[in-house]
Symmetry: C2
Subunit: 485 residues, 2 copies
């Protein structure tokens, strides 16, 4: 379905040459004219390829001399630390995340010059014009859309479209099995309410996005934080150990693809094992797949739900990050708990408004959706690389980073003694908003991390903000060092 | 703010003459020409007045002879029975309403010819064209509305507009105190979650709308049903008795204006007493004011919240019945629990989409909203009267009805031995959907009631459906009588 564009094929060709050392740092690239001749491509393809490799940090343009090979600085960044599998975080620590989060969020609610705290792309990265036109034309087609009672059970067309699109993630389902929700967050609420009660323990990844910790706290449930690798996701050994240690784990919640904040992607065999493990212990698995369409691979990663044959996996997803951050369209496949989930959905918020559902359904039925995703992935990929490059350039020694294979953010590990809270506050003074690591756990374990958004086009303003951030971190490190001395 | 239109003033004038007997049944009304001369009004005002009184059942047009006074048949209908104040319904009966409701709802989900089960007006009764145009123009004004991250805390303009409009209900508040929700139903969920936990007892009106009973069941809370009068609302004596009997009542939920299903409106001194009673016992009062803008009076009734000076009243409302059944815009003033409610709202569904909020805010800022409400009230009033007239004509002896002073439905008391479930099923056979009384309590006490929607223009089809319903009820009554014999 997704064919790689010509310039990317060409870029991959030269990238392997660079990686193999065939083209070394400082070497001159073939001229654009030569590229055109050698590969029988157009001028624009040749240029696009060079600019792409430049944006990714592998080429450098020298005025009037052409492109030269370089090593991106980010290569020098060590990957983020792997967790120690045996160190679960005690569920007794579950209270208070909301207070912590809301104190941070409250400070960040005024408009800032540079907002690096978001978990979505910039508005221009989404098909705003097409969606807008669809809205107006749907309103013309359905004159009573805003004033007629909403038809029960979620829009049928949207559910059918989502069912069809799920095939790409290896999920075979039908419209009838889908529940439309207000974003993935409502889906997670419904899933948790369906399978667990106040006081129950829920196993989650650590770090995990604070939204989930807040949901658990608001429902009176306790998060048991399971060590999670920046590259392969939740540690299955640690999870198994947890299941042996605690006998009241009532659900496991994972984000298998582009985990927030790590960006990790679970290998297929891990997902399969996870599904089996939960099934064997009769513990429902809640899969949050909000980001998978943003994975850089040409294929949408296969959902854990693919390996579920007993309805034990509750699959939750959303179009909020992928298609339209201004719309609150989420959805779920609640498996064995569908009737219960539908009951809670009806009692909690009734059905979603029809217009948004129709806009999304109509857009997703066309190839415009595929085109949008391809473009979005390519843009985000370049922006992640530029961000990583800037971090390697400006942040102090000891900074570690695993650049994820997709998504809208990077998770930066600062030198251990630096507090993300202090960095958050100092950055806000300079009108820069970041998301501090201490939000991503009920413990303080991730206080020396930052999550930075890569959803905005790289600009001089952004570059200088990152330079400023680097200085702030350096000062914070030196201050604690001299305090310790 | 709301001035009574001329034709209504004139109608009131003649109506008091009819009620006083000055104009008796069979008397001929002054001719239209005479009306114009006597009252110095236009032809259209004189005609409008006559047609209005005709629609209300007080005049009858005879071809070529003019209008004649009559007694509407509905005058012969006895008012609905008053409850016995001491008979609360045991909260142990709280389980199972959802199953009951969903069995009924599932049967009624296919399209039917005549739908009398709704709690909203027909789509044409709302300003569909104006709202649609607003939607398109707002999308032009804000090109990134659908793709930019939603600004936190609910749309500021909408909140300011709602705060201003609340003055009409005697509530003095500010944008900062308002929480925007997905309909009143989410507001009720948030209010209940903020003040109570699973296992707690919540005092509610009896009968009450099943949505509330479902919310309570879904949250594991127990409904204590308090007898409620079709004319004055919840019995304060019964409520006080309940508070003495049960020491774990954690909230009282009332719909003071146009209660669903009764249509009752609490007198001001009852509301005030209720607020004091709850305050004295430190029990939060949750006021659901979804319908008050549909009251026939020229003024919006004063909210119970008006008498609240300690933040003990949580006020919940919605524009779903009043302005746009296709939109899910509700809102609340959570008083002392605002921080907690906002936390739950964020964790549960995040903020509402911006477009709907802006459409509503813009419309409510203009006098179009006042015009819409005036027209809607007049239309509904005429339709309620026509419905009552048909019920008096077609339903068997022993039928009782209190026609409410506003709203979209009437609550019909059938002869005691008739089961609303049987009537529901027989009516569905004839492609008529009604809302059976057994949905409005966890007990079977209201099984001989029906709620009928008056939101659709009276038509031959509707008339014949009501005739059919009358027959069904008669047959059901006779069947049980002969079974008993
Ligand atoms: C992993 C994850 N799940 C769920 C959500 C919430 O999704 P939505 O905006 O669709 O409610 C987020 C948003 O940050 C997220 O990162
Ligand atoms: C009394 C009452 N409250 C609340 C609701 C739900 O309101 P909304 O549609 O705004 O969620 C209804 C709907 O039937 C109702 O009758």
């Amino acid at each position: 379905m997704h064919t790689t564009p010509l310039y990317r094929q060409l870029a991959d060709y030269y990238l392997s040459a660079i990686r193999a050392g065939t083209l070394a740092t400082g070497d001159r690239m073939p001229s654009v004219r030569k590229l055109m001749q050698n590969h029988a491509v157009s001028l624009s393809t040749a240029l696009q390829m060079c600019r792409y490799l430049e944006a990714e940090g592998w080429l450098e343009a020298r005025p009037r001399s052409g492109y030269f090979v370089r090593q991106p600085r980010r290569i020098r960044l060590a990957p983020a630390s792997e967790p120690r599998p045996a160190t679960m975080i005690d569920p007794a620590q579950f209270v208070g995340i909301h207070e912590r989060v809301s104190a941070i969020i409250a400070q960040g609610q005024r408009p800032v010059r540079i907002n690096l705290a978001r978990a979505t792309g910039a508005p221009e990265l989404y098909p705003h014009q097409q969606l807008r036109q669809l809205a107006s034309s749907l309103l013309r087609q359905h004159p009573y859309l805003l004033t007629k009672a909403i038809s029960p059970g979620g829009n049928r067309e949207l559910k059918a479209t989502l069912a069809k699109r799920s095939l790409d993630a290896g999920i075979s389902t039908s419209a009838e099995e889908i529940t439309i929700t207000h974003g993935c967050i409502e889906a997670l609420n419904l899933a948790l309410r369906a399978v667990a009660h106040a006081g129950d323990i829920i196993a989650v990844e650590s770090p995990t996005f604070y939204g989930l910790l807040q949901v658990l706290e608001s429902l009176g449930m306790k998060a048991l934080e399971i060590p999670t690798s920046p590259s392969t996701g939740i540690s299955l050994e640690a999870l198994e150990l947890a299941m042996q240690t605690y006998d009241n784990i009532k659900a496991v919640v994972v984000v298998p693809h582009l985990q927030n904040p790590l960006g990790s992607i679970m290998p297929d065999d891990h997902k399969q094992k996870l599904v089996r493990l939960c099934e064997a212990r009769q513990i429902p698995l809640i899969e949050d797949d909000s980001y998978s369409a943003l994975a850089s691979s040409d294929r949408i990663p296969t959902a854990a739900k693919h390996w579920d044959h007993t309805g034990n996996v509750i699959y939750c997803a959303s179009l909020h990050k992928v298609l339209a951050p201004g719309l609150r369209i989420g959805w779920m496949l609640a498996g064995r708990w569908q009737a219960r989930v539908n009951m809670f959905k009806y009692a909690q918020t009734r059905y979603n408004e029809e217009l948004s559902q129709l806009i999304v359904a109509t857009f997703m039925q066309s190839s415009n959706y595929d085109r949008h995703l391809r473009k979005l992935r390519a843009t985000l990929s370049a922006q992640r690389e530029q961000m990583a490059e800037a971090i390697a350039t400006y942040f102090p020694e000891g900074t570690r980073l695993t650049v994820p294979d997709g998504g809208v953010s990077v998770w930066v590990e600062m030198p251990e003694q630096v507090s993300s809270k202090a960095v958050f506050e100092a950055a806000l003074q300079k009108d820069i908003l970041i998301s501090p690591g201490l939000l991503y756990s009920n413990s303080n374990r991730f206080n020396h991390f930052l999550r930075l958004n890569c959803g905005t086009r790289y600009s001089d303003g952004l570059d200088s903000a990152l330079r400023t951030l680097g200085k702030i971190i350096l000062e914070a490190r030196d201050a604690t060092q001299s305090a310790a001395a």
